[in-house]
């Protein structure tokens, strides 16, 4: 993600789960780890038993809170205020880890005077273009330097996409080798450290309490706990999940935590770091080797239609003179050789001219918009259930009804496959089976036990799973489906002379198959991903071996080495009791089997461990050594100073641990690579019953809104009609179910544990809205209305913000209209306004109304929803022409 990527250089969790046992303080925020990652949570419990503080900051008191040594309840959508308060607390009290901050972060770097802070522009950064609704980030850069965004984000105007925010994504590049101008004493008014101080000075404990709805004491407890448990002798860790990413400022949530961890010196050290907890078995893998529109394997950017300038410009734009991105061309050419073999040559620019081009946004929600306009004809869905799992399920179902053909691959018949005869819109009459022209293919899929393959888990670890049984009847793996589909399409086009078919004909598409069903060999694919030397055919042992002359082929440069020596490194299963706790011989982690990223930072600038207690990787006089693969050139001494004009990794000094960054430092301040500002700032969610305490700029000005009729927004604070949707609603998962439920509502043993859709409300809200425990409630937004059983509980207390008390409604989002346990989908209520960096929807904080009883049925349902929506609209019309605070960017 741009957050971790821009801050540190790589968009992956910086630490591994087992290492949490070494933490002295663990802050779990934006995550319900005990419920959604129960087995990983054992390492948090280990830390707790060793005396570590475990703090859970969350709107709800969950099973995680029950295990924590401290729970702090805050309002959903106020995390940046809370974390910004911690930054301010650290800076005001000089609690930062000075030596770490001075040497390893960009705190000393001086920023151009074109930069103006939100504090001066009332919530906007310099470079805001109200017409475009975008920032010109060139006004944020290092003094005297042209900066570059991260890969996959470098072409001008190109913005980071994909959950590489949260996943992949990389740091920025600086356009020449010389170090930027700095003030080692951190006193210069325009140095990052001072800018940071000014930016957060108003985030006082009182403001935090007033904005988040927590007590000053609770806030201070967290801030002090972190400060006291960081430094040479101690380390603290953050754990987060989609509770942070699913916001219109999601990337900046994580950025704020990154700033806290940099100031406290907790990155690259044992028991420290930021652990991103992914929700799916291979969600990290599906961004490293992306099924995302804007990147190619290893976070190489897809070429962009608008800014096309030919191969050489593309290379120039994406190659950073300094840091490991200096070898961009080698990564790119090797990928093209893996894709197109002998057809990709120097002479034809490695087929670059024939590659498809993307627009700024071709993400899932954009595609849905196109679908609703009838522009999308065919759609293939493999192992996903968007009509339940995505925001605004209704819009998705309407979109599917406009397709010519749809292919759904899953193990059970999920709601996405049955939308045409079994869905809320069929029930309400908004869709009629006989009038839906979509041709639907449902293909039964194979489970992971029926195929070989590797998952990349939340700590960047590639773990191989072997096939246990043969898939029955028509069940097939995705590997089988796409391989044979490709084979058949190539057959159809083999004699074509069409320009458009040249690339298909050039495609390398031979993989050995086995068994009666002709299953392709997953290991053969893994070998291609890892790469080989074309001449000798020897397998590569890592990305440093990649060449830009077409002599190497590699399907994903960051995974290079996973098949070194012709051995499936991901399938290594050496038991943990035969190794150190780092377990380097269990599976394989990218990059280069490193388990803690930037681990050179676990030693001081001279290369000695910060302390005996936190010893991990150090300089022994000749080389870097320790418990992990050093994330540094093995023999580069701590006192190495790059000569003038040094390039790529040679331009990184011996005391700069963040080797993917152009300047080798972690970034407190991000001069380029983010759409919505170099520093995180508190904005209210797109839908919120409250105004912004800090600025008249209420919400993130850069948030990505749509004009779809199917996706209206609720009126918000300051707008008449807001009182019709007075409560904060947040969605979440339960231990007993998995995401959209296809893999759990179909399993009797799991369905019986949480058999019905319910909503969590406080006794106070129940009294106010007349809800009865165990009865039914109807929850509604401008999009739709759903019903749920009422669970009255103290675990979701009312919150007082700006002296006004309001309530929060908690909704698990696992349910849909089918399978063993069915119910209304929480996501039907949610809007599709997105984070600008990664196009993630804001389902963790929105507004809603709630009333007792079951929802209207049939056509009464849309009428009910429209009724309230129009009532709200009417009030807006009749209201005095006082411009709501939000109006500026709603026009954007």
């Amino acid at each position: 993600m741009p957050s971790l990527g821009t801050s540190f250089g790589r968009g992956g969790a910086t630490d591994f789960q087992q290492d949490l046992q070494n933490s002295d303080c663990i802050v779990i925020m934006g995550s319900n780890m005990a419920e959604n990652h129960p087995v990983g949570f054992q390492w948090v419990m280990e830390a707790r038993e060793r005396g570590a503080k475990v703090i859970h900051v969350d709107p709800r008191f969950t099973r995680t809170s029950a295990m924590a040594t401290k729970w702090v309840g805050i309002r959903a959508g106020s995390d940046i205020a809370f974390l910004g308060g911690i930054v301010n607390y650290i800076l005001q009290n000089d609690l930062h880890f000075e030596e770490y901050v001075k040497h390893y972060t960009n705190a000393p770097v001086i920023i151009e005077d074109t930069y103006v802070d939100t504090e001066e522009l009332d919530g906007l950064f310099a470079g805001w273009d109200p017409e475009e609704g975008k920032y010109d980030s060139s006004q944020w850069r290092y003094e005297g330097m042209e900066t570059h965004g991260a890969a996959g984000q470098r072409e001008e105007g190109f913005s980071p996409k994909g959950e590489q925010s949260g996943h992949g994504g990389h740091g920025g590049g600086l356009h020449h080798g010389e170090p930027p101008s700095e003030d080692p004493d951190l006193r210069h008014p325009r140095c990052v450290f001072q800018i940071l101080k000014r930016h957060y000075q108003r985030y006082t404990p009182e403001l935090v309490a007033d904005t988040c709805g927590c007590s000053v004491e609770d806030f201070l407890y967290v801030a002090e706990a972190l400060a006291q448990n960081s430094g040479r002798e101690r380390t603290s860790a953050f754990c987060y999940a989609v509770g942070w990413t699913q916001h219109t400022v999601g990337v900046q949530y994580i950025r704020t935590a990154a700033i806290v961890q940099q100031l406290l010196g907790n990155i690259g050290r044992p028991g420290g770091g930021i652990v991103a907890l992914r929700g799916h078995a291979s969600i990290q893998g599906s961004t490293d080797i992306p099924t995302l529109f804007n990147i190619l394997p290893g976070y190489l950017p897809m070429p962009h239609a608008e800014y096309y300038g030919g191969f050489d410009n593309f290379m120039a734009a994406n190659t950073s003179p300094t840091g490991w991105w200096g070898h961009f061309k080698a990564y790119w050419v090797s990928l093209m050789k893996a894709y197109f073999g002998e057809h990709a040559t120097e002479d034809n620019s490695w087929l670059f001219p024939r590659l498809p081009r993307i627009d700024e946004d071709n993400s899932a929600y954009w595609t849905l918009g196109q679908m609703l306009e009838g522009k999308v004809k065919g759609y293939v869905v493999a192992g996903e259930n968007p009509v339940v799992g995505n925001a605004n399920g209704k819009a998705h179902r309407l979109g599917l009804s406009k397709l010519d053909w749809l292919v759904v691959r899953d193990v059970v018949e999920i709601e996405t496959a049955s939308f045409w005869y079994d869905s809320p819109e069929i029930e309400s009459g908004e869709l009629k089976t006989g009038e839906i022209g979509t041709e639907v293919f449902f293909l039964p899929a194979a489970t992971h036990t029926e195929k070989d393959g590797s998952f990349t888990n939340t700590q960047r670890l590639l773990q191989w799973h072997w096939q246990a049984t043969e898939p029955k009847l028509d069940c097939r793996s995705e590997l089988w489906f796409y391989f044979h589909l490709g084979r058949m399409i190539k057959q159809r086009l083999q004699d074509s002379e069409e320009e458009r078919d040249a690339l298909v004909k050039a495609l390398r598409w031979e993989y050995p198959t086995h068994s009666q069903i002709q299953e392709p060999s997953a290991e053969a694919v893994l070998a291609e991903i890892s790469g080989w030397e074309i001449g000798s055919g020897t397998f590569l042992d890592g990305y440093p071996k990649l060449r830009d002359d077409g002599s190497t082929a590699c399907g994903c440069w960051i995974y290079s080495g996973v098949y070194k020596d012709g051995i499936n490194q991901a399938a290594r299963k050496r038991p943990h009791w035969e190794q150190t706790y780092v377990a380097p011989e269990w599976a394989w982690a990218w990059p280069d089997n490193r388990r803690i990223l930037y681990n050179r930072a676990s030693a001081d600038p001279d290369g000695n461990p910060w302390s005996e207690r936190k010893k991990f990787v150090w300089w022994n006089g000749e080389k870097w050594t320790g418990l992990d693969t050093p994330d540094f050139e093995e023999t580069k001494p701590p006192d190495y100073v790059p000569p003038d004009g040094a390039e790529a990794e040679d331009a990184i000094a011996g005391d700069h641990p963040f080797v993917m960054q152009a300047d080798g430092r972690s970034w407190l301040y991000v001069p380029q690579g983010l759409e919505d500002g170099p520093l995180p700032t508190h904005y209210e969610p797109h839908e919120s019953p409250f105004g912004n305490t800090l600025y008249s700029q209420r919400a993130n000005p850069r948030r990505q809104q749509n004009q779809l009729a199917e996706d209206p927004s609720n009126p918000v604070d300051g707008e008449p009609g807001a009182e019709l949707y007075p409560y904060v609603v947040t969605t979440y998962r339960l231990t007993e179910h998995h995401t959209a439920g296809g893999m759990t509502r179909s399993v009797p043993y799991l369905a019986e544990l949480q058999p019905a859709m319910f909503c969590e409300v406080s006794p106070e809200l129940a009294a106010e809205a007349g809800l009865e425990h165990g009865g039914w409630a109807t929850i509604y937004s401008a999009r739709s209305a759903i019903e749920a059983r009422v669970l009255v509980t103290d675990r979701i207390p009312p919150i007082t913000v700006h002296g006004r008390t309001t309530h929060q409604v908690g909704l698990p989002y696992h349910w849909g209209s089918r399978l063993l346990s069915s119910g209304d989908s929480a996501n039907d209520l949610m809007h599709m306004t997105l984070d600008p960096n990664v196009h993630i929807q804001e389902v963790k904080a929105a507004t809603c109304g709630i009333r007792p009883g079951r929802r209207p049925r049939g056509k009464a349902l849309p009428e009910f929803v429209a009724g309230i929506r129009e009532q709200a609209h009417a009030r807006r019309e009749t209201a005095p022409k006082a411009e709501p605070a939000d109006v500026r960017e709603t026009t954007a």
Partner: protein
């Protein structure tokens, strides 16, 4: 029968006798994930028994029974997890509203106690229930004839009769092994935790203990577990945990000590457990004597009816 701490019938195994094993369930680390419930059902092929939403916190299993051999209880309390060192000003006894420290959520995985003196075992008329070589108590599914006597005999309400018909659509797990002549009648037998008797015979730990993500469920030799529990209780009381207590650890209790005992954070009844269980067959000797007297008096009574001439 006075508690002696030694299970009757166990000694009789002679050489085949194994070390007595059991569970120590430490609820202070239970995250309420219910992996134990699922692991148990997966291994023992226990049927899914209905999709009923109770509204009782996150507990939709409700109770131990024929189709739930592990049951995770959820108790939400306005009560601090730790005893406040000194009473904080303005804080009510059970914690002020909105004070997160005064909110706690107890979770506890309940299971058959495998009592040292087990009433279910004593009263079973067929010998279906028996004491294994590991000192555990097991229902033999090939013997049980569903008389149901053990059901009300258990002081913990652990056992129950399985009434799921063998042909129930969509039901997973066990199918009753009924003779064809009886068609698809309900199972009719009584079921409970076997402490994975078959796994023990193979040297594997019980499914629930193996799965437990935080090792709230610990399996091992009973003596060892009791030592571990004592140490754990001492640690928790040092840390000031509110209401920490061991339940069923003492061989001197009414059932001679549990084979599966617990560390609780409140009184047993809060978790639906009896505060002072006593093996129901404790008085069976006295009851027989009492009955014999009554029977004798009955004979005398009948005889007396014939006294005093004809007519």
């Amino acid at each position: 029968m006075q508690p002696t701490g030694v299970p009757a019938g166990w000694e009789a195994y002679g050489d085949e006798k194994q070390e007595r094993v059991g569970f120590f369930t430490d609820t202070s680390v239970c995250i309420g994930c219910k992996a134990c419930e699922v692991a148990c059902k997966e291994w023992n092929l226990v049927p899914e028994d209905g999709l009923v939403w109770t509204g009782e916190s996150y507990d939709n299993t409700s109770t131990l029974g024929a189709n739930s051999w592990r049951h995770v209880a959820f108790v939400e309390q306005r009560k601090p997890l730790h005893v406040p060192s000194e009473p904080e000003p303005g804080q009510t006894e059970d914690g002020g509203r909105g004070d997160g420290d005064a909110l706690r959520w107890l979770m506890s995985s309940d299971v058959c106690k495998h009592c040292t003196h087990a009433a279910c075992l004593d009263v079973c008329p067929t010998g279906s229930l028996f004491r294994t070589e590991f000192g555990t108590v097991v229902v033999q599914e090939d013997i049980c004839n569903g008389c149901g006597y053990c059901v009300p005999a258990c002081p913990f309400g652990v056992l129950d009769k399985r009434d799921i018909a063998s042909d129930r659509p969509g039901s997973m797990g066990h199918k009753p092994d009924l003779p064809a002549s009886l068609g698809t009648k309900e199972d009719g037998r009584v079921w409970k935790c076997t402490l994975c008797y078959d796994r023990l015979k193979g040297g594997h730990e019980p499914a629930c203990a193996k799965a437990c993500p935080t090792k709230s469920i610990q399996f091992g030799p009973l003596d060892e577990l009791r030592e571990r529990a004592d140490a754990r209780l001492a640690k928790l009381s040092d840390e000031g945990w509110n209401g920490a207590q061991l339940y069923g650890r003492d061989p001197g209790d009414g059932v001679g000590g549990f084979g599966a005992f617990f560390l609780l954070l409140d009184d047993p009844e809060v978790y639906g457990l009896p505060p002072d269980p006593v093996v129901t067959t404790k008085h069976v000797g006295a009851m027989w004597e009492n009955m014999a007297t009554a029977a004798a008096v009955l004979v005398v009574g009948v005889a007396a009816a014939f006294l005093g001439g004809r007519g």
